[in-house]
Symmetry: C2
Subunit: 423 residues, 2 copies
């Protein structure tokens, strides 16, 4: 689809319309280049709020905007919805699975990460992870259906298993899911069932390491743990999962009967990294140069979760602010290449770290400052509303949250595409 | 799941949580009865706005609310999410497909209607109809994907077929879909593509009868036709579809190449009607007595789209107000049976008929009054917001519509569960 034969501007192909790809594209808005953004979905996703869609607090369109719409006024950019099958760095072409090939002068690979099950891919069907809107709707369906099935069940053991929810992984996503699920069981659904008491639901957060939120200082991890326990979450640290199947989850010798296991434990790099045929780190990410280019491929850059880079002896984390910064930096590196200037090394600026736990419960860490509880929660709320793309979405999200806050209700408790009871 | 052995209150089972079933349940809130509402989805759906979800103006949860939540304070009602496999009127039991059986003293069958393809079930996969939220999300995905695929295509004929949209059926749903689709092509997507011009999309509305909106007076049909044409819709009346397949739609001798056909032509009664083993009308609906009971089955009532009833020589129409009125009447008939009183005949009160066409374009008909254009549109807007269940939804819908109105944007242009490009 390289249909601009008379166009001599350098053609930049950006794979992935997430934070890294989109921020790079926007940074090049005034350059004399052509940009093609390729993404397999039609939208940019505000991933930090994905757990709210999974837990029925927000609708899918509240946290997503069509890439075309975001870029409609950027005349040097075009969007191609499609799935990349491979990259040929010899011919400088991106191959799509529909047979199309897109030639590039510069390539930015920003296709991010996906779930990793540590060699246990058979766990995927029992323990869905949370990366896309479709993942979030699947998790929402599983959670809400478990309560429905428990209400209908006549078997005590089955009912207990249906009311047991296990979240694997004590990072920010796991903490958010566990805290929100505990609130749903204790408050949102309180009066709605006649045969079960949703407050008796067990929510387990299983973490293999010694503490939750290990990217935060020890004191904030401890505060997060107490806030989770106050909400009724059973936190098990040092608990490595050894098996997940249709009947439950196994931790060493202990088997826990549950029908709902959610995976928030591991991410793996997008498999597209392999098609570059360059050295990768253990997680499959590309070991980039300081200017974010790929060793030996000066016209190829990598940004976001797919880039592996050390700074001051620590890896740059796979978080949204790092992806945005890398995207902008990759754009600057490409511009330098085009104009014949030297590229500069990327420096990650850490503005802090936020994780929410529940209503009025969160932890925030900036430099030396650590906050927890209500003040951290307000901080988290404002930061997330502020960074949401699109004026309309911010308003709708604020309205939904205000409503949810006062009523303890969740606006999107709708089971869609009911897999368990097909027509 | 009939687990109240000590409970001597009459048990009323309501099949279907749509307008008829829900209004009947609410009407019995203060009666000394037990009510079980069975529905295969977890939500009540505000069906009159379903086309807005299909055309990406609203999110699925904006027009739906969990049945449990609506009924949470009605202590004599319980909700069972499940699919009814059959009804045994001998043993007075409702059988669910998960093997459960629910005994009843009175049964209200309000399972509504589904799409009918006039004996051409093979058309269903090419021409989805619009009855559930999942249907709406499927149609949304097909519409948005057609524009994406057209942008990627190098073949002129394929691009034209992808930009041709055929809607079969000129009733209110067909008119709403056609009008909104024309607006999307002309305004919403105007600047967002680089290779196609969405304004060149063709939107065809195919009606077998002599005019659109045949339930309205001739003058309003003509006004609706003009409003559709002004929006750019090609209306073909007297055009019976003879074939629908993967490459297009055939009308007599004419073949129209299109990848997107939407079905708004026919509805058929829920197949559950057959399990009563009583006479049905040609559309498969139950020929009910004037009090809405089933001939020969005095403890079984039918309300809503599934009930076939003549009034003053005309059938009671399959619209939301009729369903609500029948639901309330069936509740009164059941109450009369329980208390040993005579039941009264149902009378449909026709408060008028509304259909929207597009921005500032609608027709309204009450008694002798007919309105069209902007005033009819404002009337339609206020009526729909007023009747939406749930305070929060009304606010969100109003906000979305205000935004959509001023910006010509549609808030929910997100492709979910992308069937065409599976991972």
């Amino acid at each position: 689809m390289d249909h601009s034969p008379g166009d001599t501007r350098p053609h930049i192909v950006v794979i992935g319309g997430g934070f890294a790809g989109l921020w790079a594209t926007r940074a090049l808005a005034r350059d004399d280049v052509r940009i093609t953004v390729v993404d397999r979905s039609n939208h940019h996703l505000f991933q930090p709020l994905l757990y709210q869609v999974a837990t029925a607090g927000l609708s899918a369109p509240d946290i997503a905007a069509p890439l075309r719409h975001i870029l409609r006024r950027q005349r040097n950019a075009t969007v191609r919805m499609g799935t990349v099958a491979g990259i040929d760095t010899e011919t400088r072409e991106v191959h799509l699975d529909d047979g199309d090939a897109i030639g590039y002068d510069f390539l930015l690979l920003a296709s991010g990460a996906t779930h990793a099950y540590f060699g246990h891919d058979e766990w995927a069907r029992y323990a869905p992870g949370l990366k896309t809107l479709d993942d979030a709707l699947l998790i929402r369906r599983r959670i809400l259906s478990a309560f429905e099935r428990a209400e209908a069940s006549d078997d005590d053991a089955e009912r207990r298993a249906l009311l047991t929810f296990a979240i694997v992984g004590g990072g920010p996503t796991g903490v958010e899911l566990a805290g929100t699920l505990a609130e749903i069981a204790r408050h949102t659904l309180k009066r709605e069932f006649r045969r079960i008491d949703p407050r008796q639901a067990r929510v387990l957060l299983l973490e293999a390491g010694p503490r939750v939120l290990s990217a935060f200082p020890q004191t904030l991890s401890t505060k997060a743990l107490r806030q989770l326990q106050k909400l009724g979450v059973e936190v098990r640290t040092g608990s490595a999962v050894t098996r997940i199947d249709a009947v439950g989850v196994t931790l060493g010798d202990e088997s826990i009967a549950t029908h709902t296991v959610l995976w928030a434990a591991g991410v793996a790099a997008s498999p597209l990294a392999r098609s570059l045929h360059v050295p990768l780190d253990r997680a499959g990410r590309v070991l980039v140069q300081p200017d974010l280019s790929v060793p030996g491929l000066p016209q190829v850059f990598v940004a976001g979760d797919l880039a592996s880079l050390q700074q001051d002896g620590k890896p740059v984390p796979g978080v949204a602010p790092a992806a945005k910064q890398m995207g902008r930096h990759a754009a600057a590196s490409i511009r330098a290449r085009i104009t014949g200037h030297a590229t500069a090394p990327f420096r990650y600026r850490d503005y802090g770290n936020l994780a929410t736990i529940g209503r009025m419960a969160a932890v925030v860490h900036f430099g030396r400052l650590g906050l927890s509880g209500a003040i951290a929660w307000w901080f988290w709320l404002l930061a997330h509303i502020f960074f949401l793309i699109g004026f309309r979405n911010r308003l709708v999200v604020m309205l939904n949250w205000t409503w949810a806050y006062w009523s303890y209700q969740r606006a999107a408790r709708i089971i869609l595409n009911n897999e368990e009871r097909p027509e």
